[in-house]
């Protein structure tokens, strides 16, 4: 049966944000998702709070927004509600794409039917997937627009990775990556990118074959960097680490929205060549952050990621202005031109304090406000 794409208002915005739960004694992960969700359910808040694959993760799903400022307000409010309950439970919350020193084998799968089946299907990869990402949904007025945007935004995946990068430490060591989280995602057999299809009909034909082979049961089985989300009527960008603050999470969403606005407006021609360089460019962003270099397949040249990001910010600024997202672009411009991303902040804290537990304590304090 073909997938039906439910259209939504173009450029509407929503965010999924996975957060880590910590105990305040040794700053390791705490398996308290169930209790936190139970307590938070007693409060009024927009959007949804959900469990994730293991019991030390919770996910914030925002409601649908048209502009960055309202999204930021909602994220701050939800963060405050969660932080209040967490403090009452003697646990803490934090952003960050990975927990710096948790041992994946100690994690416990959250006992829902879906998560248990993921665990059964993927074995140890399931517990290793205790990593924390931000997904950004951009509304699309038609299914074909969603296919266009999925391809078009792929060129900017490295930019989004570098801005959000907040996982330099993993399993107790400095990985030398700014974002080590995506290496964990790479292990899944259906990770990567959407195939080069040009329309929703072509996509449906591809999906039917994959479904017919028994490889996928639903769109959720594709762990792609960017994928259409037909039931929401959106394109879902899935490459961002959860930043260290909800402010940065909202800034990323504001940037993605302005970028989508610019892409829809300019309609740059698409070429399958973007996927030739994608893995290399993505690696550069994960490994080096803003200091990475990119291969631009449109004119076959190498360009610095920071330089290309600054240029992109200039291109999309008029659209950001129209959408009320200019402050988000200002903050990102400040990060790329000197302040650095969250990975740099985490490394600086480690240099200063000398223990990863101290780093987690400080990142939690920053997140909870």
């Amino acid at each position: 049966m073909p997938l039906h794409f439910k259209p939504s208002a173009a450029l509407t915005l929503g965010v999924e944000l996975e957060l880590m739960l910590l105990n305040t004694r040794d700053w390791n992960l705490a398996p308290d998702a169930d209790d936190l969700l139970r307590r938070a359910a007693q409060n009024e808040h927009r959007g949804e709070l959900k469990p994730e694959l293991t019991q030390s993760m919770v996910e914030i799903n925002t409601s649908v927004h048209t502009a960055y400022p309202a999204l930021l307000d909602e994220l701050r409010h939800t963060r405050d509600v969660l932080a209040r309950h967490a403090r009452q439970m003697n646990v803490a919350l934090a952003g960050g794409g990975t927990h710096p020193f948790q041992k994946w084998s100690e994690r416990r799968i959250y006992p829902t039917e879906r998560f248990l089946s993921v665990s059964e299907k993927y074995g140890f990869l399931a517990k290793q997937f205790t990593v924390f990402g931000q997904h950004i949904h951009i509304g699309c007025a038609s299914a074909d627009d969603a296919i266009y945007l999925t391809h078009a935004v792929t060129r900017y995946v490295p930019h989004l990775i570098a801005i959000a990068a907040s996982s330099p430490f993993y399993q107790g060591v400095d990985t030398m990556f700014d974002s080590s989280r995506l290496s964990v995602v790479n292990a899944f057999p259906l990770s990567g990118t959407m195939p080069w299809v040009q329309s929703w009909d072509e996509f449906n034909a591809y999906y039917d074959r994959m479904h017919g082979y028994g490889i996928v049961q639903s769109m959720k089985d594709f762990y792609w960097d960017v994928r259409p989300k037909p039931e929401y009527g959106t394109v879902e960008i899935r490459v961002c680490d959860t930043p260290l603050t909800v402010d940065r999470a909202a800034q990323l969403a504001g940037f993605a929205q302005a970028l989508a606005g610019w892409l829809f407006h300019e309609r740059p021609a698409l070429s399958a060549d973007v996927y030739l360089a994608h893995s290399y460019n993505r690696f550069q962003a994960c490994r080096h952050g803003f200091a990475g270099s990119l291969i631009d397949t449109t004119d076959s040249r190498s360009v610095g990621l920071a330089e290309d990001l600054q240029a992109t910010l200039r291109h999309v600024r008029p659209h950001a202005r129209a959408l009320g997202a200019e402050p988000a672009l200002d903050a990102i411009a400040a990060a790329v031109s000197g302040e650095g991303n969250d990975a740099a902040w985490l490394r600086a804290r480690f240099t200063q304090s000398g223990t990863l537990a101290d780093v987690v304590r400080q990142q939690s304090a920053w997140f909870m406000g």
Binding site: N23, R25, A30, D35, R39, Q88, N90, S353, D358
Partner: protein
Amino acid sequence: MTTPEFLPSWPLPANSFALFGLLLLAGVVGGRVAATTRILPAITGYIATGFLLGPGVLNWLDERALADARIFADVSLGIIVFELGRRLDIEWARHDRWLLPTGLAESLVSFAAMAGLLIGLGIDALEAAMMATFGVATAPAVVLLVTRELRADGPVTRRTLWYVALNNIIGILGLVVLLPFVEARATGTPWTPAARSLWLLAGSFLLGYVAYLVMTQIARVVGKATAPQFILTVSMIIVTVGAAQMLRLSVLLALLVLGICAHNLDRHHRLIDVRFGDAAELFFVALFVVTGATLRPAQFTQLAWIGIAFVVARFAGKALALIVLRRPAHITGRQATTVALALTPISGLAIGLTQPIFDVAPEFGARLAAIVAAGIAILHVLGPVATRFALLRAGEGEAEARN
């Protein structure tokens, strides 16, 4: 024919190292046997091993050997009580306004239930209060070790350990306050016992605090690397245990205060949360084998029914308080009952504090020892099982974690 001088004399002299090694070997076998039942925690195996080897049954571990082994048990108790103190996060009570009231309630209602039962059985009110005060404190070693064995973590585990720390403080304070009254009744003067209580209380608090200050100053020098911090922590625990014994203070209280200060006062984060790991397990095995060896078969038969009633009243008090206060405390009914069940093991640690009673009021001392010891003996068997069951029931431990 005379024995050559290079050969050892017979019987072989007692040797602490050999004794420690044998305790561990016997304990680890007992622990494995218990673990294979899939119902009993390893601790029950350690205790049963000690009971069998001790003076109560086979007498292979006689009183002298037990006295030699005591040093290992004291070090491991020091580690456990310090660890427990670190779990008493005062900041938590600031954010959860019902945490302290529910903790006080579980202690006081269980005290009232136990005292009421004993008074109902015709025991004098002051004696009943003294015995019930014993019952307030939960055995920190049992709860912490079961937690470690199951790798338990979560809201029930965290709350249980916080209450254990609190009810141990309440238990000690209660005993220290009641002791002068008991002694005054026997000797006519409350002043010497009162002064002793004050010395014990103030001295233990001060010792714990001073040990914390010294520890943080040394931490400035040694830095935050794991190995030096581990040595610093264990050394400070051993020094504080020794100092408390020399000064005739409460080892329990001093180490608890050291742990509480290390967690709550270290504003510059100079101390790291050292994981004691498998090396500390050696000491814990020794502790429970020695604990088992102090049990006597008679404790399970004499006054056993009072002991059982005492244990039931204690659990009922703790469960009632937590269930009644579950709504304001924002905990579920299941969390309330599993916390109460996890708090089942009674602590025998404070028994040392009552030594003066045996000197001035030996009859009361004997009654106290008989009833409280019966309760403690029963809970040495049931307590670890109850705590294990509670944490597994709460979904916070893994039954196979250490198997």
